[in-house]
Every structure is written in structure tokens, then in C-alpha cells.
């Protein structure tokens, strides 16, 4: 089976037809291709196979046609993945390094506990996006969501940058997520468009982006616009708000002994 599907083993560019392949076989093929020196792999007929991009450990380029399954790029270290379609839950779960670009929607817990790397989602994302993202020194995950998000956006955030552009919202429509940044104790969230105070976690402060923030936003929105063929200037025209943690230790006064 393996022989039949690993077209061009040893080639720099490899094509894999994932039709009917269980994820374990598919991921074994990917490991084999990367070990064989592949720099770019095109996957077609992907129907929900999980863990694509996990354990590849090289900056290989993956182009996915179809719908990859949960935990796309979980514990990922290096690859650059482009999904030509929607993604599911757990994209970039505990990712360490690399990039994931989704030309569509993404499911729940996008970039959960991510420690590095970048994620760009063209449209909306589900619940608990960027939950418990972290950063340390140079390692800082960057997540840009083109559309809007569900509740618990940026919950428990401990680091990294999350940008939500709201481009899928209709004229006059607002972000509907509640509990935004609840438990947040690090990192920063930039929301394009306003939210009501009751939508925010009580550990979150609100500010206008400063000059350094705007520079970062120009870079990230510029990248988003390039990936998804949008007009960055047009996106940046609308106001952003900056959400930041009020406390480094939100739960410091809970205990006595």
C-alpha cells in the first residue's frame, strides 16, 4: 500500500492521494516522504485524517486539499501547512514552530497551548480559540482570525498575539463571543470592532493600540491580506481595540495557610 501511494519517493515534490487512507498510514507516508527529502507535499482527497503535520520536524511545505481532521499540526515543529478548505478542531494544538494557513473556517480550540509558530484562518473560528497560548523569550505564537470567534476567545491566555478581524461580520453586526480573555494573564488580543464590557473576562483590560501595536498589526494584517488576497489598508481603516491582562497573577488572593 505504501509503495503504491508514495509517488516520487526521494523527490523534492511529492503528491499523496489520501483517499481512503487511515490517518496512521497517511502520517507514516508523510514521515517517509520527509525522511526521503521532500520539501513540498501536496495532499489531495483529505477527508478528516487527524494529526497531519505532527512529528515531521522539518520546514516542509504541505498543501492540503479537502478537510483535514482534528489536531492538524499538533505538537508541530517546523512545517508550513496550507489548507485549501476548512479545518476542524484542535488546529496547532501545543504547536512549537511552523505555520498553518486555513483558507476557510476552523473549529474549536484553535492554537490551544501553542508555544510558537503562526496560524492564519481566513474566516471564523469556534470556541476557546488561543486558549492558554504561551510565550517565552523569542518564542511567541501569532494567531490571526479573519472572521469572528465563539465564546472563551483567548481564555487563560498566558502569552502570544491573537488578532480577530471580524471580516465575516455583516454591516453593523458585532462580535458575539462572551468570556473573551477570561483568566488571561499574559499575551495580547487585538479585536477589530467593538465589544461590550460584559463580553470580556474580568481579568481583561481594554486600551487603544499604541504605535508599537499598530506596527505589529500592520505586519500581521499585511500577511493575512497577502495570504487571502485582501486589501490590508481597507482592513486597517477600522478601529482595533487592544485587550491585555490586568494581572500577571489573576488568582493570587485565593488561598490562606
Amino acid at each position: 500500500m505504501t509503495k503504491k501511494l508514495a509517488k516520487g519517493r526521494g523527490d523534492r515534490q511529492v503528491k499523496i492521494d489520501a483517499l481512503g487512507l487511515p490517518y496512521r498510514e497517511l502520517n507514516a507516508l508523510l514521515r517517509e516522504a520527509v525522511a526521503g527529502g521532500a520539501e513540498s507535499i501536496e495532499l489531495t482527497n483529505v477527508y478528516g485524517q487527524r494529526y497531519i503535520g505532527t512529528d515531521l520536524m522539518k520546514p516542509v511545505r504541505l498543501d492540503i486539499h479537502g478537510t483535514p481532521g482534528n489536531d492538524l499540526g499538533a505538537f508541530m515543529e517546523g512545517p508550513r501547512i496550507t489548507v485549501h478548505g476548512n479545518g476542524q478542531d484542535g488546529i496547532a494544538n501545543t504547536m512549537n514552530e511552523g505555520e498553518i494557513i486555513v483558507h476557510g473556517h476552523a473549529g474549536d480550540i484553535l492554537a490551544m497551548s501553542a508555544r510558537g509558530g503562526r496560524v492564519f484562518v481566513r474566516d471564523d473560528v469556534g470556541y476557546r480559540a488561543a486558549i492558554h497560548m504561551k510565550e517565552y523569550g523569542e518564542k511567541k505564537p501569532l494567531v490571526v482570525v479573519g472572521g469572528t470567534a465563539q465564546d472563551f476567545l483567548g481564555e487563560y491566555m498566558a502569552g502570544g498575539v491573537l488578532v480577530v478581524l471580524g471580516l465575516t461580520l455583516k454591516e453593523g453586526e458585532r462580535h458575539r463571543a462572551s468570556y473573551i480573555g477570561t483568566g488571561m494573564h499574559g499575551g495580547v488580543i487585538f479585536l477589530r470592532g467593538a465589544v461590550e464590557k460584559h463580553q470580556l473576562g474580568k481579568e481583561v483590560g481594554v486600551a487603544e493600540p499604541d504605535e508599537a501595536d499598530r506596527k505589529l498589526l500592520r505586519t500581521l494584517v499585511g500577511q493575512y491580506a497577502e495570504y487571502f488576497d485582501r486589501d490590508a489598508e481597507e482592513i486597517l481603516k477600522k478601529d482595533f481595540i487592544k485587550l491585555f491582562p490586568l494581572y500577571l497573577r489573576p488568582y493570587g488572593r485565593l488561598y490562606v495557610y
Binding site: 494529526y51 494544538n93 517565552y136 487563560y156
Partner: protein, 501 residues
């Protein structure tokens, strides 16, 4: 606010012996001893004492003793001193009472109500001093059947990854941060010398300890601290921590004070921030989700390492364990009511969960009934105090046990239950470098290796007495246990007969 809390301990200084050398002053991290600058004498502040024995152990003239304060409340089974003082603390703070170590309440300890068998006349006992005894234990998923190549006699069945340990005792998960690097190093080196395993807990793996990877279980908990491909690759096995016996159902907060520079590098979070572990894993809301994370970790390590799932022993542990095995857990770790912690709300530590003995028996029974017991190894933990507890756990169905508190006691811990203060005078539950250097890893390693050797010798002796020469023959063999002082229901759940029957 004036506190109504009385002193807990009285420091007795024998003035005839005290030479005012200030060893106690320097040893006590709670500042319970001080030099009076006016008189030049060393004096004590009873209020600060935690009864950790550090000063007593190091006093060169044996001048110090510590007593529990004789100050009693009016005798009352309901309103004990502890109950009253917890209320005082809370009325003065408005906070949850925090504590360290395991449940100290009077819940039944079933180990003490289970007794072992020995051979007399009808089956000769074995003398382990002269005959070979086998404590070696292989942990991991076992196949339903084995297929051999008839021509060569070679095994055809592909085995899941297995771990072999020389004695059925591993060190329980204790994170770097909750305990010191010197304690971690001692555990790692002892595990490597004794041929067993230690567990990083959820605080990541310090760079200096990667070389003990073959004896290391790395933990993936809800905070995912220090979890990255290199960390997963370094280990012999990966443990998904769902729960901990001391605090079932809740997460953990490593207070910012303990997040020192080195802890910060290892956990990969900024210095001084709280390390917050959420109560659930937010990618696990069901058995199916657990399977997803188990296989994510297997994919991340290319199916080369067993994956352990650790839960605290709770009411439905047996059904949950069945789900865990079906979800792909190669080993399951059950942590009982008396399991220990570096910090937990006292009310949870003392009231949530069930005793390990009952959970272990129920899980083993259930997995046997379902015909899937071979698919996983069971590690029992939570209050294992001596080799008697170990061998009884094996007879109840455990493949191995994990010891946490016992290992720390070997390093000097006196179970004073103040781990959460981060000031451990024994250099164990602290990240303060002035204190952590009190553990010399060479000596710490030796003490732990000695402990494992002592217990292993005792297990061999007990096994030999039963006429058994391989631990594997005792595993789940509950006929070698009898109960005393137990109800019919307790005996039924434990699957043992009453003594005399």
C-alpha cells in the same frame, strides 16, 4: 487584624546544652529561631515553627525538641481544633485554606486491614537469600495472543512498546517547581541506577536531566508546560495527567514566587507569573477526545513510547478506566484519596476521591470482566508507605506502584504539610536556591536507591514466604490476601476473603 490563631508547636530549648551557635537560626527558613542581639543568646519564636525537625536534626548539642502545643480546646468530636482554626484562618482572610502533602484524615487505610499469606507445610516457602527471585516487571499493552513463526520460533506478533523495571516501584509525578531541581536530579539518578522510572510531573524537563530520559516519564497535563517535541522524544513514556489523588477535578496553580529563573526556562513561562493549569484539558471533554490526545502523542513520537493516562480515584473509576483502555492507554495510573500534593485546597484534599485500595480492586476486576486487562498496565499510587503496601497492591491487581511522599521522606521530608509555602527547610518543596542546595544529589540519590533496595528485599522475603518466586505470579492473585475488620461489601469490592475463611 489581630489573629486568633494560637501557636501550633512549642520549641523546647535546653539552655544547659545550647551553645548559641546559630545553626538552628541558619537552618530554619521560617525564622523560628533568632539571635537576640542584646543578650547574644539564640531564642525561638514558637509561632513560626512548622515542626519540620530541620533544627532538631542539625543541632550539634541536641539542645532542641519540639512538642505539639498542649493548648487544647474543650473536647468536642465535632468542633475539633482543626475545624476551629480553619474557620479562624478563613474569617481573617476570606480565602480557601491551602495545604500540602496527602490527606491526613482518619479515612480507612485498607492496606492495614489486609493481611498476606505464607506457606506452611503444604507448600514450601522459598529462601530469597539463596534462590532466584523475580521482581522484574514489564509495563505496557500486552497482545491478546502471540503468534510465532513455526520454522524459526520467532515471534510474529508486533508488540506495543514495553518498559522493563527491576522492581515494581516507580517514583510518582512531582513537577520541577513543586519540588527542587536537586530533588528531581536525585529521583532521576536513583531511577536510572535502580532500573526504574521517575516522572517529571507537569513542569517540563530541565536540560540537565535529559540524559536520564530512558528512566523518565514525561507528563502532559492541562497546562502543557514545557511540552514540545524534544521533551516528548526524550522520555521512556508519556503520561497524560487528568487528575491527581490529592485534588481530583481541579487544576493547579504554581504560585509566581516559585517560578524562579530556572523554573521559568523549563516551563517556558515568564519569571514570577503564576503557572496556571486549567481544571480540565480543554481538548478532552470525552473518552473519544482522550483517545484523540493519546494518539496525538503516539503520532508525535511515532508509536515508539507507551502512553499512560493518570486519573484520581473517583466514584466511577472502573468505568472510566475501561474507557481509558479502549481509548488506547497503554498504562493507567490510579491515584487514590491519600495521594499527595505540593499545594491543594485542604477541603478538596480531605474530602474528594476514594481510597486507592478500593479503586484498584474495582478497576482490576472490571478490566478482567471485560477481557481487556491485558491491554493495559495498572500503576497504583496515593499513600503507599512501605513494601507491605506495595505487595498488597500487587496482589490486588497493580502491575506497579508509584511512590511520592515515601521518596521525599527518603530525601529528608518529615511530612510537616507546608510544601505550599515554598520554604521547605529540607530543600525539597522549594525553588529557593539557598534551600535547594541542602540536597546533595549524590547523597539524595543514594538514599533513594537504598530505600528501593530495602523495600525490594522485603518484597522478595514476603514473596518467598508465600512460596512464590516471581512477582508476576502474585499479580492480581487475591487469594494471597485476607481481610480483617471489613464488612461483606468491602470484602466483595476488594475481592478478598475474610481472615479465617
Amino acid at each position: 487584624m489581630k489573629t486568633f490563631l494560637p501557636n501550633k508547636f512549642i520549641i523546647e530549648r535546653n539552655h544547659g546544652r545550647c551553645i548559641h551557635c546559630q545553626v538552628c537560626v541558619n537552618q530554619c527558613s521560617y525564622e523560628a529561631h533568632y539571635l537576640d542581639p542584646f543578650s547574644g543568646e539564640v531564642k525561638s519564636r514558637d509561632r513560626n515553627c512548622t515542626n519540620c525537625h530541620r533544627c532538631v536534626a542539625f543541632c550539634p548539642t541536641e539542645a532542641l525538641a519540639i512538642r505539639c502545643s498542649p493548648l487544647d480546646y474543650v473536647p468536642n468530636r465535632n468542633w475539633t481544633g482543626e475545624v476551629i482554626e480553619d474557620i479562624i484562618k478563613q474569617s481573617e482572610s476570606g480565602a480557601m485554606v491551602l495545604t500540602g502533602m496527602g490527606n491526613d484524615k482518619d479515612h480507612p487505610i485498607y492496606w492495614d486491614k489486609l493481611l498476606l499469606n505464607a506457606s506452611q507445610v503444604t507448600n514450601p516457602s522459598i529462601d530469597p537469600l539463596r534462590e532466584p527471585m523475580e521482581l522484574r516487571t514489564t509495563l505496557g499493552r500486552k497482545p491478546d495472543r502471540l503468534a510465532y513463526d513455526k520454522a524459526t520460533g520467532r515471534l510474529i506478533t508486533k508488540l506495543a512498546p514495553q518498559l522493563t523495571i527491576n522492581t515494581p516501584i516507580i517514583f510518582a509525578a512531582m513537577s520541577y517547581g513543586a519540588i527542587s531541581l536537586t530533588a528531581h536530579e536525585s529521583l532521576a539518578r536513583a531511577a536510572s541506577i535502580a532500573g526504574t522510572l521517575y516522572n517529571t510531573g507537569e513542569g517540563g524537563l530541565h536540560k540537565s536531566l535529559y540524559k536520564y530520559g530512558a528512566n523518565t516519564i514525561v507528563q502532559v497535563a492541562s497546562g502543557r508546560f514545557g511540552v514540545h517535541p524534544e521533551y516528548l522524544d526524550a522520555a521512556a513514556a508519556i503520561e497524560i495527567k487528568i487528575g491527581q489523588g490529592a485534588k481530583p477535578g481541579i487544576g493547579g496553580h504554581l504560585p509566581g514566587e516559585k517560578v524562579s529563573a530556572e523554573v521559568s526556562v523549563t516551563r517556558m513561562i515568564p519569571m514570577g507569573t503564576d503557572a496556571l493549569s486549567p481544571a480540565p484539558h480543554h481538548d478532552i471533554y470525552s473518552i473519544e477526545d482522550l483517545a484523540q490526545l493519546i494518539y496525538a502523542l503516539k503520532e508525535a513520537t511515532n508509536y515508539t513510547k507507551p502512553v499512560i493516562v493518570k486519573i484520581s480515584a473517583v466514584h466511577n473509576a472502573a468505568a472510566i478506566a475501561s474507557g481509558m483502555v479502549r481509548a488506547g492507554a497503554d498504562m493507567i495510573c490510579l491515584d487514590g484519596l491519600r495521594g499527595s500534593t505540593g499545594a491543594a485546597p485542604k477541603i478538596i484534599r480531605d474530602n474528594v476521591g476514594i481510597p486507592i485500595e478500593l479503586a484498584l480492586a474495582a478497576v482490576d476486576t472490571r478490566l478482567r470482566q471485560e477481557g481487556i486487562r491485558n491491554q493495559t498496565s495498572i500503576i497504583a499510587s496515593g499513600g503507599i508507605r512501605n513494601s507491605g503496601d506495595v505487595i498488597k497492591a500487587i496482589a490486588l491487581g497493580a502491575d506497579a506502584v508509584a511512590i511520592g511522599t515515601a521518596a521525599l521522606v527518603a530525601l529528608g521530608c518529615t511530612v510537616c504539610q507546608m510544601c505550599h509555602t515554598g520554604k521547605c527547610p529540607w530543600g525539597i518543596a522549594t525553588t529557593n536556591l539557598a534551600l535547594t542546595k541542602r540536597i546533595n544529589p549524590d547523597i539524595g540519590t543514594q538514599r533513594l536507591v537504598n530505600l528501593l533496595r530495602g523495600w525490594s528485599l522485603e518484597i522478595e522475603d514476603m514473596l518467598g514466604g508465600m512460596g512464590i518466586n516471581a512477582l508476576e505470579s502474585l499479580r492480581g492473585n487475591r487469594l494471597h490476601l485476607r481481610g480483617v475488620g471489613l464488612t461483606d461489601t468491602e470484602l466483595e469490592i476488594l475481592g478478598v476473603k475474610m481472615a479465617g475463611a
